[in-house]
Symmetry: C2
Subunit: 111 residues, 2 copies
Amino acid sequence: MAAHKREQFTPAEQQIAVIAKALGHPARVAILRLLAQRQSCVCGELVLELPISQSTVSQHLKELKAAGLVQGEVDGPRVCYCLAPAGWATARQLLTDFLHDVPPVAPGCAC
Amino acid sequence: MAAHKREQFTPAEQQIAVIAKALGHPARVAILRLLAQRQSCVCGELVLELPISQSTVSQHLKELKAAGLVQGEVDGPRVCYCLAPAGWATARQLLTDFLHDVPPVAPGCAC
DNA sequence: TTTGTTTATCGTCGATTAACGATTGTAAAG
DNA sequence: CTTTACAATCGTTAATCGACGATAAACAAA
């Protein structure tokens, strides 16, 4: 028992949660920034820029790919990663909408 | 060993990761939306709106509070929660900046 | 075909998360 | 001073995460 209850929330809530979870580790935030800076990146280059091992980088890339934020193309023995245009656009939109739904609060709340 | 290496990333990356992690569960996304809709909310009301138990809601609120996104004020036997003005503003800014740093990509990437 | 380079996957381990019911704590009301 | 609400914490369980080294897989080059 005590299984997860994610299914019982709205699709939007779930999607945002999936995206946010993908951003929920500094390494993945860093990877996305690197990919944006360079437009694309071979996995090995990322490993050089990050303070974690090759296998761990690969894991994080896998998670980002699973969330649809990143895609990889095989290029000979290496793999070239870049932001997934559609997935990242969707993610941006969902986050933007959420920030719109939950606007800044005037100091001093109602309670 | 094999401890977490979060410390080895930049402060900005870590902060974004903390915020994103707090948003990384649909229940917490839902809670923030509810708080924004109603400006404030007693814990019990949230429990009624959400498909999870009281103790679980309390746990999620604790995490949101730990991330600085929410604050609770004791009001008699109940507790009134609302968005934490400063913390939520900071979070919004960090996310906005990040979205600015990682802009949408034109379809068809470099690789 | 063998070698070297690069990336993915496997297996493992400890830590953390998500969930619940049960219990405790706190404060108003009687 | 009890009782009654309400919320937080405790204790537990299963699942997931984060990390690593080791191994496998893919492919270019020799």
